[in-house]
Structure formats: structure tokens, C-alpha cells
């Protein structure tokens, strides 16, 4: 089985936040919860670059290691999912995650946090696949329908890629090679040499 992976091509990402809107809209994410966000470096300067980040679906994920109730688990294809019915909203996964992926809706008794919500790679949760319960708790299960995650599907510049890690890596490698860098950098030959 392949290994699912996100990859954001920072040479293509234009900080349009289309992925963020697609995710929020497609899964009916509550206000204050962001499964995906776009981070920019050198904003307003030369060399500005942006990257779209959600759950990275890590191998050996730190969130799984720290969860006191084993609410987080990893599928065989590498997708990390949370069981909202098991989660107690303690927030430890948020502290363990380098990417700020786990999100918490508020509004529980005594102002406590609710169960954790994060990017599901559009693969739902532990409830029955494509059941109303799954859709209500986790949003669409596009993976079960054979579709790529909404964010990657919506990406206007195709900066954000999702899917089998090998395929995604191949596409990215090809792009980097075609764009040219290092010995392939643009120069006289690229510009003027007839093939």
C-alpha cells in the first residue's frame, strides 16, 4: 500500500488561501478551527515564499505518542486520524505537534476545550465510512470516494499536492529539474542554445 503525503511546492504557492477556504467550506469547520493555514516568510520583502500547512501525517507521530487516551491512530497508508468520541480535549497533542495541526473548539463546560479536530486527509474518522455520523464529526471522506483531498484539488497553481508519496515526490522532482537550479540553472544555453 502506498503512503499518503502532502507536499507544498513553495515556488508555486501564492498565498491565496484557496486551500484554507476549500477545507473550511467543504468540511463545515467551526469558526476558530483551522485544519489548514498558509504561512509566509519574508512577507513584503524580496524572496517572499508561502507554504500551506495542515497535519503532516507524520511517521512516528508525536501526537500519537503523547495522547493520554490513545484517541489518535495511524492508518496503514500513513493517514493520522483522531477519534473524537475518545478524545478528552486535554491539548497535549497540540503541545507535541511542531506544525500546530491539532485544533480545539471551545464552548465546553467551565470554558474547557472540546475534542480535538485536525486535518483528516479527507479520510473521515473511525466511524463507518461515508456514514452521516462520520460526516458530522469529521467532514467528507473523499479518500473513500477515490478523490484527492479538497485542498489539493482546489489549489489554483497546483502548488499543494496530495497522494501517494512516491508519485508526489516524482512530480515535484520533475518540476524542480525543469525549473532548473544548480547545474541546471538558467543561463545562456537555456535561453539561446538551439536544441
Amino acid at each position: 500500500m502506498g503512503r499518503m503525503r502532502f507536499l507544498c511546492d513553495v515556488e508555486r504557492c501564492i498565498d491565496c488561501n484557496g486551500c484554507v477556504v476549500a477545507c473550511k467550506e467543504g468540511h463545515h469547520i467551526p469558526v476558530g478551527v483551522n485544519r489548514r493555514r498558509v504561512i509566509s516568510i519574508n512577507q513584503g520583502e524580496m524572496g517572499e515564499k508561502s507554504i500551506s500547512v495542515a497535519c503532516m501525517h507524520c511517521s512516528d507521530a508525536p501526537c500519537i505518542a503523547v495522547c493520554p487516551v490513545d484517541a489518535i491512530y495511524q492508518r496503514d497508508d500513513g493517514i493520522v486520524l483522531v477519534s473524537k468520541k475518545t478524545c478528552i480535549g486535554c491539548g497535549y497533542c497540540f503541545m507535541a505537534c511542531p506544525f500546530g495541526a491539532p485544533q480545539f473548539p471551545g464552548g465546553q463546560v467551565f470554558g474547557a476545550r472540546g475534542a480535538m479536530d485536525k486535518c483528516t486527509f479527507c479520510a473521515g474518522g473511525p466511524e463507518k465510512t461515508n456514514s452521516p455520523a462520520e460526516k458530522k464529526l469529521y467532514g467528507q471522506n473523499r479518500i473513500a470516494e477515490g478523490k484527492v483531498p479538497l485542498c489539493a484539488a482546489m489549489c489554483a497553481t497546483k502548488a499543494l499536492m496530495a497522494g501517494d508519496a512516491d508519485v508526489v515526490a516524482d512530480i515535484y522532482r520533475e518540476r524542480v529539474f525543469t525549473r532548473g537550479s544548480g547545474v541546471n540553472a538558467w543561463g545562456w544555453d537555456k535561453a539561446y542554445k538551439k536544441k
Binding site: G47, V53, P68, V69, G89, A96, P98, Q108, G182
Partner: protein, 292 residues
């Protein structure tokens, strides 16, 4: 053809400064053409994520994954076992309660003590529920436990402040406390000897300072864990402090439970009625000088 182009380029650089390559004096313009290798951008992005994570993220992840739940499990299983064997080997201290009685704890003391005792017990139970949540399967029960934890914390804080003030003057360390510590409060022998202690012995003083000052630190760190106000590294540090201090407080809480319920017969009664027997005071609180 090539030569003509080069000549044209040289000519252009000489005449016009609008040709970017030729000026080379403004680094911003130079960077606009080539902002540097893509790896430089990735290094910056990595700094955004893992740079921050390395501070306390790794430490917190390792502690929470491998240590905290084990420390607490160790405490709640081993400490009672030790006390059980202590009870079998040495047994409870018994005193004659029929003789003269001394009014030791006034009504205010007792009310504050029992509010603190009730809320603290809730805090320990619900805290353990969260830490050892795997054993109970997580879900709604533990989540409600977290809510109770928040409620109990507020209740405990409201009793810890008056408790701190009402017993503070009796709780400062004294020289005989060192002697008490050396003989371990005489709890390791079944013979009854006079023990050097004031109104409170050194063990009670330790428990007092840990429960009040430690309680305030727990409340402070717990506030962050509840509200999530502050950056993620602050939260990690707060969680680390909260867990370690919580483990120490749980251990001494169990010790206090054992002492009051089992090790000293009639101890529980004195906190209910407020009276201690003169005989018990003469032995366990020999330096106690009541004000008349």
C-alpha cells in the same frame, strides 16, 4: 552574432542604470532576480516549525510519552503497598483518648480543612483519570473528569488561601524539625517515644508548604493548560511543571491519607471534633504550647 550582443550589453551597462545586472549596488534588486536557492527557503520554513519545537516540544513529548503516566502509576500503586507493609509491621499509634482533651482545631480551621480536603481529593482523582485515561478508555467520562478538575481547582484555591494564612505562623521550620526528620517522626518503631514537634510536626509542615505553595503553582500552571493563553512553548513548560509537581503532591496526599486514617488512631476524629487528647499531644507534639 554573439559578439554583437555582448557589445550591446556592455554599452547598455555603461549608459543606463536601469539594467539591473549591471548596477549590482542594490542588494534588494539583485535578490529580486534570484532570491537564493530554494533550500534557503526550506531552511527558513523549517525554522518556523521545528525551530520552535526543539525548545520544549521534544522534551515535553518524551516526558509525556514515556515518563508522566508511569510516575503516577508508580506512586498510586507503590506508595499504598509501602504503607500497607508499614501497617502490618509497625501498626498504628494508639493513645488514650479518655483523659484530658485539648481544643486543637477551631471550627474555622476544620471547615477550611475539609473544603480543601474535599476539593483536593477531587483534584487527585480527576487528575489521575486524565493521566491514566488509557485504562478507562477515554471519552465522555474522562472529559467530564476534566470539567470536575477545573471546578475543584477553583474550590481548592478558595480554601488554600485562608488555610495558608491561618496556619502560616505554626508552619515555619524549627530546629527540632531536623531531629524529627532524622528519626523519621518515630514512625519506624512501634515503641512510643516522645517526638520533638510543635503544633505541627516536620512532616505536616512539608505537606502544608507543598499543598499551599505547590497548590498555587498548580493553579497558575493549570490556568494556562485550561485557557491555552500564551505561546505553545509556554504551555509545554506549564504542562511539565504541572505534571511533576502533581506527582509530588499526589505522593504526599497519599501519605497524609495514610497517617490520618490508619497510622495514628483517632487522628481523623480530632479534625472532626477539634479535640486531641493530652496524652497524644505530650508524645507527638511535645513542644506544643497552647495559648490560654
Amino acid at each position: 552574432m554573439k559578439a554583437i550582443l555582448i557589445v550591446a550589453l556592455i554599452a547598455a551597462t555603461g549608459i543606463s542604470t536601469s539594467v539591473v545586472y549591471a548596477t549590482g549596488t542594490d542588494p534588494m534588486l539583485a535578490r529580486s532576480i534570484d532570491a537564493g536557492p530554494i533550500t534557503a527557503s526550506w531552511i527558513q520554513f523549517n525554522e518556523v516549525f521545528t525551530g520552535n519545537w526543539q525548545q520544549y516540544g521534544e522534551l515535553f513529548t518524551n516526558l509525556q510519552a514515556y515518563l508522566f503516566s508511569r510516575i503516577f502509576l508508580f506512586i498510586v500503586t507503590l506508595v499504598p503497598v509501602i504503607f500497607f507493609f508499614h501497617y502490618l509491621a509497625i501498626g498504628p499509634k494508639k493513645f488514650d483518648h479518655s483523659g484530658q482533651q485539648v481544643y486543637y482545631f477551631n471550627l474555622f480551621n476544620r471547615i477550611i480543612h475539609w473544603v480543601a480536603a474535599f476539593s483536593f481529593s477531587l483534584l487527585v482523582i480527576t487528575g489521575l483519570l486524565v493521566i491514566l485515561g488509557k485504562m478507562f478508555g477515554g471519552g465522555a467520562v474522562i472529559m467530564n473528569g476534566r470539567s470536575v478538575h477545573i471546578f475543584a481547582a477553583v474550590l481548592f484555591l478558595s480554601s488554600a488561601v485562608p488555610m495558608f494564612l491561618m496556619w502560616l505562623k505554626n508552619m515555619f521550620p524549627a530546629f527540632y524539625d531536623i531531629k524529627w526528620m532524622i528519626i523519621m517522626g518515630d514512625y519506624l518503631s512501634s515503641k512510643t517515644k516522645v517526638v520533638p514537634a510543635g503544633k505541627f510536626n516536620a512532616g505536616q509542615k512539608m505537606w502544608f508548604w507543598l499543598a499551599t505553595m505547590g497548590g498555587f503553582v498548580m493553579a497558575y500552571t493549570g490556568f494556562y493548560l485550561w485557557s491555552f493563553r500564551g505561546d505553545v512553548d509556554t504551555l509545554r513548560l506549564m504542562a511539565i511543571i504541572h505534571n511533576f509537581l502533581g506527582a509530588a503532591m499526589t505522593a504526599l496526599f497519599l501519605a497524609h491519607l495514610y497517617m490520618s486514617l490508619f497510622a495514628i488512631a483517632g487522628s481523623l476524629g480530632s479534625m472532626l471534633s477539634g479535640y486531641k487528647s493530652q496524652e497524644e499531644i505530650n508524645i507527638l507534639h511535645s513542644r506544643y504550647k497552647p495559648k490560654h
